[in-house]
Amino acid sequence: MKTLKIFIFLCAVSISAAKAQFIKAELQVSGLTCSMCSKATEKSLRTLPFISDIKPDLNRNLFTITFKANTPVNLEQMSKKVQGAGFSINQLKATLDFDKLKVSNNSFNYAGDTFQVLNGAGKELDGQVAVTVVNKGFAPAAVVKKYNAAANGKSYQLVI
């Protein structure tokens, strides 16, 4: 019986994983140090339908976010939730499964948004790769400026 349960669980994991392009993300929030502030931010993020779990590191103000397999991830909403809690995203590093994305010219579409890997030239974009979003609202001003990233929520710029 127990074996069967584990078997079913494994099946469920592999079926859902087959659709997941966005797997997880490390989200570092800037401007806070108190646990009450972190809690407000986490609770705000948890209202998003595509987030399945959040593990906070309160000392580094880092949230490790796991995405639901079958719900499209919307990065813009994550930025809005953090800002709504009164803070900003310092870094958003998302782990993508490039095997499940159609990449051409280091660019791909996902859930209506366009993503461009800025430093993707000459790199193998396959398997699980962690990318950092460098758009305004997702990175400090200096980083946004460095990559000259657009402030458009429909078009994201990523670096590996």
């Binding site: 401007g31 140090t33 972190s38 809690k39």
Partner: protein
């Protein structure tokens, strides 16, 4: 650009006089706002023992409208001006965040605030206090710098007193208020979870001066704060004058407050 430059100047001034916290100040408001769509409920009692024990109870509701705007609504009840406890009136407060510069574990913020109060009390005091004593308006600016476990904040405001309900004329019409607050996160030294009790220590300077009159004061208000479960906050404070040339209720006053936060109430 202009606000940025003022912000920078005030920020540098604040940094120059480093003392001690976190920015959930007990006697003042920081430039930061509550989380949007969250509700904070405060129950508070403050008072003094001389010449007689008098105390005021306060119910305050705070709401984060969006990331830049938060509002408070407050009701006051006391026996300050008669022997029995009586409902005195209410005040409304709004704070708008004008400027934010965030980086990891630090930020600098500026906000503008306005407060309006309507109360029904006689006016024996020279101080204009919109916390239950006077009907009036207050407007000001506040700047807050967070540096990891230390938070510094300063504010300047203008207060205008009106006739209190019941046709009581104020003794003073105009006043300038200023505050300087410092807070320090004492515990936990290292975070492990949200359930850990936080202990913050505060030292706040609270001053007012009535222009054109020889009426002013500067109080020091030490405070200790406990935050349980990251949602329930308990504040204890006592203010006492460093200088005092103003007739008022607020000298040598204790404050006890419980605040409960409901995050993401209206999503």
């Amino acid at each position: 650009m202009y606000t940025k430059r003022i912000g920078l100047t005030i920020g540098m001034l604040l940094c120059a006089c480093i003392s001690m916290a976190q920015e959930l100040y007990v006697n003042t408001e920081p430039a930061s706002n509550m989380a949007a769509k969250s509700l904070g409920i405060r129950l508070e009692n403050q008072g003094y023992f001389k010449p007689d024990f008098k105390n005021r109870s306060i119910l305050e509701m705070m709401y984060g409208v969006n990331r830049n705007l938060m509002v408070h609504g407050t009701a006051y009840m006391s026996n300050y001006y008669q022997s029995k406890q009586r409902f005195e009136g209410a005040s409304a407060y709004a704070k708008y965040r004008l400027y934010s510069a965030d980086s990891v574990q630090r930020h600098f913020r500026m906000a503008a605030f306005v407060k309006a109060a309507s109360v029904n009390n006689p006016i024996p005091n020279q101080e204009i206090a919109l916390e239950g004593d006077n009907s009036g308006l207050q407007g000001g600016l506040v700047a807050t710098q967070l540096l990891h476990k230390l938070a510094l904040s300063g504010s300047v405001s203008y207060l205008r007193a009106f006739q209190n309900r019941g046709s009581y004329e104020p003794l003073t019409r105009n006043s300038i208020g200023y505050t300087l607050s410092a807070g320090y996160l004492m515990f936990p030294k290292q975070y492990t979870n949200y359930e850990q009790t936080n202990i913050n220590l505060y030292a706040e300077l609270l001053g007012k001066t009535n222009p054109g009159k020889d009426q002013s004061y500067l109080d020091i208000a030490p405070a200790v704060q406990f935050i349980f479960n990251s949602v329930l906050r308990v504040d204890l404070s006592y203010r006492t004058p460093l200088t005092n040339r103003m007739v008022r209720n607020t000298q040598n006053m204790y404050l006890v407050r419980v605040e409960y936060n409901l995050f993401n109430l209206f999503n």
